[in-house]
């Protein structure tokens, strides 16, 4: 059944990204106007708006399953696209959509559930002979059990939250003495963050590369991969720069890993677009880490080198279409790099930099794509993530891609906020980045400076500061302060004042 209308239960750049494909496919889009950002830019890309800007609630609507289902019913849409984040990997929400009779653009609730729980995912992987970092396939009861397992697999080990993500509930343990305390910290954190204290243990692979494979699968069991993405430039498990393909993979390794990725997807009868994440160690051993059952932030790099529209593929699969593409038809063409331009103060440990975008000039070109949900005058608020834009650049090979990205960054200009742009400039100059040997320890081990500054900038800053100061000083001097009037004191009070001393 063809989808005619679609509700986007997301905001920002991904809402705009989804709407763009829908427009191309002739699907009517619905967006949700919230009280948090009633004038948000993404709304202008929607065909229709569901206005709830006068509703105030502690829970953001994009996280409120019940409220969203009523919106689905009221708008009468055929399908729901969750984007990434929010409820995109929530099996319950997917299930409720199915019950409400609308298509949830993504895998089945069952697949989301299986891959969403990491211990379940590990069990499935073990059953299917998928390489895993040694560790447990069930959640750990107490610190004693944790110690037993850790002693067996050898330190360092990592404790992870079973329902986790984004680095929360995660602890690395180097020595047996630290285990009990770290176990407690991890379970507490997991309980707070995910309402589920269960954790599991696996061997900690030091400074691996983060390699993920893009999967497409239809309802008929056809599953293909679209090559890998290299996402090793991370800070505390937050990806900052991604590229496709990875400089570390040979054609042979790509084939092996891709087949494994397909295998695990098929094991859960996966459909729609998904991502299988691996860790790759220095001797090219790879380990299945987890599967993300949604469209990812970094999907554009794959789109650039495959020429496919992944959102379109998701919608077609949801409509019940069969994948036209066979694995042997997938050709990776050239190189693509994505930089996440976030409003962050890199020198202050990448802390969010809240404020208003006074001016923004984006680079343009045939091989440049900027996905952004923000326009001049918008503010970065603590309510949402700090992403300003994604800059994606294509080149015929890696060197060209790096060169073109540098050019594009030089033309990317944002006034009013501190952003990660100067950080990327220095990453792209880095030797270990250029030769492709970097790993997830890149920021801690390879970068001497977090920030690119040119002499010119420093001179300009000094000049600007001096000018500002001169202006301030001049402004102060405009007050005509008169000290003489203060001496004209009425004799009535002056005499008494003097006598009272």
């Amino acid at each position: 059944m063809a989808i005619k209308s679609l509700l986007i239960v997301n905001r920002g750049e991904i809402a705009i990204r989804i709407a763009r494909t829908c427009k191309k496919m002739g699907i009517e889009t619905w967006g949700i106007k919230t009280s948090n950002e009633p004038r948000a830019h993404y709304l202008s890309h929607m065909d229709k708006i569901y206005d709830m800007s006068d509703e105030f609630s502690d829970v953001l609507v994009f996280l409120d399953v019940e409220r969203l289902i009523t919106i689905v019913e009221e708008t009468g849409v055929d399908a729901v696209h969750p984007g990434y984040g929010f409820l995109s990997e929530n099996a319950y929400f997917a299930q409720r959509c199915v019950i409400a009779g609308v298509k949830f653009i993504g895998p089945t609730p069952d697949a989301i559930h299986k891959m969403g729980n990491k211990t379940v995912a590990r069990q499935i992987a073990t059953k299917n002979n998928i390489p895993l970092a040694s560790g447990t396939t069930h959640s750990i009861r107490d610190a004693e059990e944790a110690k037993e397992i850790a002693d067996k697999i050898g330190y360092p080990v990592i404790i992870k939250a079973a329902s986790g993500g984004g680095g929360r509930g995660m602890r690395i343990i180097h020595k047996a003495e630290e285990l009990a305390q770290m176990f407690r910290l991890a379970t507490n954190e997991a309980e707070k963050a995910f309402n589920d204290p269960s954790v599991f243990i696996e061997k900690y692979i030091q400074n691996p590369k983060h390699i993920e494979f893009q999967i497409l699968a239809d309802k008929f069991g056809n599953t293909i991969h679209l090559g890998e993405r290299e996402c090793s430039i991370q800070r505390k498990h937050q990806k900052l720069l991604e590229e496709a393909p990875s400089p570390a993979l040979t054609e042979e390794l790509r084939k092996t890993m891709g087949e494994i990725a397909i295998k695990i997807s098929q094991a859960v009868k996966y459909e729609s677009a998904g991502t299988v994440e691996f860790l790759l160690d220095q001797s090219n051993n790879f380990y299945f880490m987890e599967m993300n059952t949604r469209i990812q932030v970094e999907h554009p790099v794959t789109e650039f080198i495959t020429g496919l529209d992944l959102i379109e593929q998701q919608i077609r699969i949801a409509q019940g279409e069969e994948l036209k593409l066979k694995q042997e038809d997938v050709k990776l063409n050239g190189w693509a790099i994505e930089c996440r331009i976030n409003a962050e103060d890199v020198q202050a440990g990448f802390s969010p930099y809240l404020g208003t975008i006074e001016k923004m000039v984006q680079p343009t070109g045939d091989n440049i794509r900027v996905d952004s949900g923000i326009v001049e005058g918008d503010t970065i608020s603590p309510n949402f993530d700090s992403m300003v834009a994604k800059l994606i650049v294509w080149g015929a090979d890696r060197n060209e891609a790096i060169r073109e990205t540098k050019k594009a960054l030089a033309k990317f200009w944002i006034k009013g906020l501190k952003t990660t742009i100067p950080f990327f400039k220095i990453v792209l100059e880095n030797e270990s980045f250029r030769c492709g040997t970097f790993n997830t320890g890149f920021i801690e081990n390879e970068l001497e400076s977090m920030h690119d500054t040119s002499e010119e900038e420093e001179a300009l800053a000094a000049w600007f500061a001096a000018l500002k100061y001169a202006e301030e000083r001049e402004k102060e001097e405009t007050n005509q302060v008169d000290f003489e009037q203060g001496k004209n004191i009425n004799p009535w009070v002056l005499n008494k004042r003097l006598k009272s001393f």
Binding site: N479, Q480, V493
Partner: protein
């Protein structure tokens, strides 16, 4: 100058020598630490080419023991003199860290003493630019005696001429007590610090590792200890801040404050003032918005902005006339009075009173901050400071009650009966012994316990209490308030009332001095 070569030779030699001493190379030592040289600081503080230095050529006292040595340098590490700031006579001294670490020797101290005495004789403000390693160990007791003399002059001048200390480097040990005795302490963030005992001693005695900045940096003193009233990010702005403060305050305790002849006035009638206070009595708002609506444009100069933020104090102008403002801040701790805010306000009120600056009180106070901590740390004694300061002050005092005004805090905040000259209230005011919740709980405890629907009854009683007691009209009818006014006309009202009060004088019983509860 050649004609009289013989007589001028020595003179010119000395000139050359001192110019070398204050060379650019010398300044660079300071610049490398993000600081300015003493000469540059003096140049920034005073109007162009108005500074006159004295005692430039004095030399350090010779050593009487064999311990350590003395660097031969003119001026003994301090520049003293006088000049014009915004056209008015101001005295100043600036310690020079490049000469023996700015350490205080006996000659150095004598120079400061000299300028302190002159400032007092002339009835002119004095500014100390402090950048010193402390007492000069080689000179021993003579150096300590020097500090003692400086402290003595600080105390003698207190309340007679305004004294401002600007910390632009270290101020350690006994040296911190001169700034502590003065009216205002300015600090530059990251490059200045003050403490009685430094990190080394802390490490030895308590085995705690702490940096200069963590122990006594500008942030610590402006946010936590309250020792410093003003903090700026660089020395240029710090000195600019001193210049700005000086435009609000008079030269001494006899004359009145300076007047700005071309003030940019805010509207006398401003309807926005009716909406600043939210309808919901528990909702916070920013009292600084009220201050800015009432004062001349951009004239509010806040003191101790980062310390005890539940009370806001500072200088503003009404038609160019300096006014001291004390305002409860509903945004922080609901505007309650605690120990720190009482001390902060009391000190500010006493400065205003000493220097003939009228005081405006903007009141929205639910009471004193309750708690074991506060009681055990002595909120009785410290809260009394503010009460004492308000009552003691003889300058014109006006209060505007914007919203809450309950219990003891009502009395303290310049109420009519402790000496408020004009006390106004907005229609949103709630004046009573306690807030509605408390009052209902005390008076109707039994009824509430036996009620079938205590919540409904409580709501009902609270409404009655608000209608009948917690409003400004009873106080108005009994004369405890002079007038309930439309918030929109508040500025006009203040201008007229302060004008009427300008020749106020109150005779107090003769005494040596009062005994404020310290």
């Amino acid at each position: 100058m050649d004609t009289n070569g013989k007589l001028f030779r020595k003179f010119l030699e000395r000139e050359e020598k001192i110019n070398n001493q204050f060379s650019i190379e010398n300044a660079k030592k300071q610049h490398s630490k993000g600081k300015l040289s003493a000469v540059e600081r003096i140049e920034l503080l005073f109007d162009k080419d108005t500074f006159e230095e004295i005692d430039a050529f004095v030399i350090p006292a010779p050593l009487t023991t064999s311990f350590g040595k003395i660097t031969e340098a003119y001026g003994d590490g301090v520049i003293v003199g006088y000049g014009k700031v915004s056209g008015r006579l101001v005295f100043a001294y600036a310690q020079d860290f490049t000469v023996m670490g700015g350490s205080l020797g006996s000659v150095h101290a004598q120079k400061i003493n000299k300028i302190q005495q002159m400032a007092l004789k002339m009835g002119a403000p004095i500014v100390g630019l402090i950048d010193s390693g402390g007492a000069r160990i080689q000179e021993g007791i003579a150096s300590l005696a020097g500090y003692a003399m400086i402290f003595k002059h600080n105390v003698h001048a207190s309340g007679v001429i305004p004294q401002i200390s600007v910390i632009m480097g270290p101020a350690a040990g006994g040296a911190v007590y001169s700034p502590a005795l003065t009216d205002f302490v300015f600090m530059t963030n990251k490059t200045s610090y003050m403490f009685v005992t430094g990190p080394n001693v802390v490490k030895e005695v308590l085995n705690e590792e702490v940096t200069n900045d963590e122990l006594g940096g500008a942030e610590v003193h402006s946010k936590k200890s309250g020792v410093s009233q003003m903090m700026y990010e660089d020395e240029e702005h710090t000195i600019q801040g001193v210049r700005k403060l000086l435009t609000y305050i008079p030269s001494n305790n006899v004359v009145n404050p300076p007047v700005v002849l071309n003030p940019e006035e805010t509207p006398d009638y401003n309807e926005r003032l009716r909406d600043v206070v939210p309808d919901d009595p528990n909702k916070p708002y920013d009292v600084k918005e009220v201050i800015n609506l009432l004062m001349d444009v951009d004239s509010f100069f806040e003191i101790s902005e980062n310390y005890a933020q539940n009370i806001v104090v500072g200088f503003g102008r009404l038609k160019g006339q300096t006014i001291g403002i004390v305002a409860n801040q509903p945004k922080v701790l609901a505007g309650t009075i605690d120990i720190n805010s009482s001390i902060k306000a009391a000190r500010f009120i006493r400065f205003c009173d000493a220097f003939n600056i009228p005081i405006l009180t903007l009141e929205d106070v639910p009471g004193f901050l309750p708690g074991v901590d506060q009681e055990h740390m002595g909120i009785i004694r410290h809260g009394a400071k503010m009460l004492y300061a308000y009552t003691e002050a003889t300058v014109p005092k006006i209060t505007v009650i914007m919203r809450k005004s309950y219990g003891g805090a009502y009395i303290v905040m310049n109420s009519k009966n402790i000496g408020g000259d004009f006390n106004y209230a907005w229609p949103t005011a709630e004046i009573a012994v306690m807030g509605p919740d408390g009052a209902v709980a005390v008076l109707y405890r039994r009824e509430l316990e036996s009620s079938e629907d205590p919540d409904a009854l409580k709501k009902e009683l609270i409404k009655t209490y608000r209608d009948e007691i917690a409003n400004p009209y009873i106080a108005d009818e009994k004369g405890y308030i002079d007038e309930v006014i439309d918030p929109a006309v508040t500025r006009k009202k203040l201008i007229v009332s302060f004008e009427a009060l300008q020749n106020k004088h109150v005779a107090r019983p003769a005494k040596k001095h009062g005994n404020i509860p310290l």
